[in-house]
């Protein structure tokens, strides 16, 4: 029996639902663009496409177990950091330093894979934080030093430290037990919960903003973000989290609701903070500059804020 739905793990069942939902969304998107040739559905199509990619990655992770998941997130961090360094101003003298910055990725994910929590949590905020300026003063260039050192740290925290929390979520239920690398624990369910809610929160805020949005909330950064969209999105995410909490996490319904509201707010802040960086640099999309093709950072901006927060709530209260 290939599809014995009853005996599947909950996480796989939810995954199947997602697959079905996404297939329906894709068909609806296709139908809309066929029947309504006047309107531009590029943004919707892109969102659906990136969802398929996420679902694909997630399916792989479910099938292959935690070690592959960790590897996938390491690659994701690498692409995100490369995108970050490519779009922010860097100095020629710092080439060596940037090389070291890339090397933190395999190390950080090695701590994740071995479940060495203490090292995982201080490696970038403490050791890398101290090492990078040391390597920079060896080069001896002081012009724009502060901007450069701040930029490198910001990039590492944003793309390596926060995103590695996603990988550690998968390891959580079996923390420190190396043999867990061969079997998927229900850490995968935690990851699914967080990623689905963060992404749906983006969509919900966008839709509520389109329907009711009148009051801009951050006009200087993201003129399209409205107070109504934020409130509608956060409430929607809270309700969704309440429903999913019992299925995918150790939380009960009201805890799920609280965490969902938190994810909604944190996701919004993550989104806007990356927009602020891009405004400062003067580019809109961090990826390909064909109009509307965002980069990987545009897809992960909300997760950079929700991942560490959700992870620590889980770890502190439940594991």
């Amino acid at each position: 029996m290939l599809f014995d739905f009853e005996s599947m793990r909950t996480v796989t069942q939810v995954f199947m639902f997602l697959l079905a939902g996404l297939s329906i969304a894709t068909l609806v998107g296709l139908a809309l663009s066929l029947f309504n040739k006047k309107k531009d559905y590029t943004e919707l199509k892109q969102r659906i496409n990136s969802w398929w990619i996420m679902i694909g990655i997630f399916g792989l992770a479910l099938l292959m177990g935690p070690l592959v998941t960790v590897l996938l997130f390491a690659i994701l961090s690498f692409v995100a950091l490369k995108e970050y360094f490519s779009m922010t101003p860097t100095r020629l003298v710092d080439r060596n330093v940037l090389f070291w910055a890339y090397l933190t990725i395999p190390l950080q994910y090695y701590w994740v894979a071995t479940g060495w929590y203490g090292m995982f949590i201080i490696f970038i905020p403490v050791y890398t934080f101290l090492f990078i300026p040391f390597r920079m003063v060896l080069a001896g260039e002081t012009k724009n030093y502060l901007r450069a050192v701040g930029n490198i740290h910001w990039g590492l925290m944003l793309t390596v430290f926060t995103l590695s929390h996603l990988a550690y979520l998968v390891m959580l239920p079996s923390e420190g037990e190396y043999q867990s690398l061969t079997m998927s624990g229900d850490g995968a369910a935690l990851l699914l919960f967080l990623v689905v809610l963060t992404q749906l929160n983006d969509v919900a805020q966008y839709i509520w903003g389109k329907i009711l949005g009148t009051t801009p909330i951050a006009p200087t950064i993201s003129p399209n973000k409205t107070r109504e969209g934020l409130i509608g999105g956060v409430i929607t995410t809270g309700i969704l989290a309440m429903i999913l909490a019992g299925l995918l996490t150790p939380m009960i319904w009201w805890q799920g609701l609280l965490v969902g509201l938190g994810i909604g707010i944190a996701g919004f802040i993550g989104d806007v903070s990356l927009s602020a960086i891009k405004r400062d640099i003067g580019i809109k999309d961090s990826g390909q500059l064909i109009p509307g093709h965002g980069g990987i950072l545009d897809r992960l901006d909300s997760l950079t804020f929700t991942a560490p927060l959700f992870f620590h709530v889980m770890r502190y209260f439940y594991f």
Partner: protein
């Protein structure tokens, strides 16, 4: 031996260079690619790094790899035996004598001969590699070649980022995305100076279309 070298060249690009260019460096097209489907054609691009040639070859489909020849300085790439074998057979360069070295062979004639046999040349109008992410003045060689082969299209391509990844005189490889911009092909029309100005303007436009911070 010729077939072994061809196979080695194909493997080198299919297995080593293309994955490095597409995954480790990462290409971002700023517009829809405009590339020749076959020869004769010339790709002209800015030159900041040894990776330029690798990226340009990777842009083209592998099935026309045997037609692609990067034009390169003989005195630099034929320094020693191994380097010469590698440059000639694996990278597949067309070695030309820089001006003032040997007057008996005309580099423009060498290129024209390759174009006559249907090759796709990779030509860097600036001459040698410049400072990271800066374009120097175009030399006149490109005009002479266009004048000699007026029917051949010249495809201007601008690459941003490779000068950061592997600048001149540095062996440390630090990945940055490479942003590529394409432009409609230019043909030699009325006069050399008009062609020169046209190519210069194309590159200026391409360069301005990339809205990324400069390296300092």
């Amino acid at each position: 031996m010729k077939y072994i070298n061809l196979a080695l060249r194909w493997l080198f690009f299919a297995v080593i260079i293309k994955p490095i260019v597409k995954i480790v460096i990462g290409l971002r097209y700023q517009n829809e690619p405009i590339l020749p489907q076959g020869g004769p054609a010339v790709l002209i691009a800015n030159h900041n790094s040894h990776l330029d040639t690798m990226v340009l070859i990777s842009l083209l489909p592998l099935k026309i790899l045997h037609k692609v020849q990067p034009v390169a300085a003989a005195d630099y790439f034929l320094k020693n035996k191994f380097m010469a074998w590698f440059a000639l057979n694996i990278i597949g360069i067309l070695p030309i004598e820089r001006q003032g070295k040997d007057k008996s062979v005309n580099p423009i004639e060498q290129c024209a001969k390759a174009l006559d046999s249907g090759k796709i040349l990779i030509f860097f109008p600036e001459g040698s590699r410049g400072e990271p992410e800066k374009m120097t003045d175009l030399k006149y060689g490109v005009v002479k070649l266009a004048e000699r082969c007026p029917q051949v299209p010249f495809y201007p391509i601008y690459m941003h980022g490779l000068g950061k990844t592997l600048p001149k005189g540095d062996a440390l490889f630090v990945p940055f995305f490479c942003d590529v911009v394409f432009s409609e092909p230019v043909n030699y029309d009325k006069s050399g100076s008009a062609f020169y100005e046209e190519v210069k303007n194309r590159f200026a436009t391409l360069q301005d279309s990339i809205k990324l911070p400069k390296w300092d």
